[in-house]
């Protein structure tokens, strides 16, 4: 069975994603809550993708570490409505740094 996509962002961004057909969207204000949701998704069986707004990802301590440690869910940080730059590159940079031993510009 195909896996589910989940959005974790502010209320307005969640509304837009829901309208676009991404059924599950969690509007959170607290980064700790976002971490708990991602950890729960990892324990679930049919979640594949967690789209986390950059604002929440940057306020979560060790978002890159969490992203690297997850096996089932792939979290992707995306710029939210207020236009923060994407952090998807940071996670990729961190994975490469750990594997190869040096930083690579993405």
């Amino acid at each position: 069975m195909p896996g589910r996509i989940v959005v974790i962002a502010d209320e307005e961004t969640c509304t837009l994603f829901r309208l676009a057909g991404v059924g599950e969207a969690y509007s959170v204000a607290d980064p700790g809550e976002a971490r708990k949701i991602i950890e729960q998704l990892e324990r679930g069986e049919d979640y594949v993708l967690a789209l986390v707004s950059e604002r929440i990802a940057s306020s979560m301590e060790g978002f890159e570490d969490l992203a690297v440690s997850l096996k089932m869910v792939t979290p992707i940080a995306f710029p939210d409505r207020r236009g923060a730059p994407a952090r998807a590159t940071d996670t990729l940079r961190e994975i490469v740094k750990r594997a190869i031993g040096f930083e690579v510009a993405v």
Binding site: P2, G3, R4, I5, E12, C14, T15, L16, F17, R18, L19, A20, G21, V22, G23, E24, V48, L49, L51, A67, V68, T74, I76, F78, P79, R81, G83, P85, A86, A88, T89, T91, L92, I95, V96, R98, A99, I100, V104, V106
Partner: protein, 206 residues
Amino acid sequence: MSVNVTRMELLRLKRLLGIAERAKSLLEEKRTILAMEILSTISKARGLIDEMEVKLRRAYQSFSLAEATMGRSGLLGLAVKTPTMFRVEIDRRKIMGVETPVFNLVEVAEKERGAPYSLIGTTTYLDEAVSMMGEAVKVMVKVAEIEATVKALAAELEKIKRRVNALEHIVIPRLRRDIAFIEFRLEEMEREHLFRIERIVGEKQS
């Protein structure tokens, strides 16, 4: 040191050393190729991330206009009723023997999920925002695929690094030490044997 000092054991250890050295060089080669594969996969990410940002920006702009014309509560009401339209299917492919995921965004058939929001009472700004967001989600799925692929390749690279280190710092030095020890003991035994023979010959002659 608990090593059998025999010629058979010496031959066995020399054969093992040959295998260990060949394995190390093959693993080093695989390590280099995997590192290059990671870098080449990463190079595809930049373009996709830029594309995702552009599509999201357009979706947010249209959404702001839709919000201005329809009101926030109107949009919230529609959002609650909108059915789930996207799922991600996972296929697998192998890169250098490493299983990596391929994410495919699939749209749930309309008869299964029901129609999205009604066209009555909604604006084209909302249609634009929704359509652009759908495009952005497609790109996000591709970015996620790259991240998951890089993660799988990096995990394999870590495993290879540990194996190369174990061969280089533990297995090969231990085999060399055992071989040197057996060679030394065999030479010593040969010298003792020669000395005994010379003594026996000397005793017989005298």
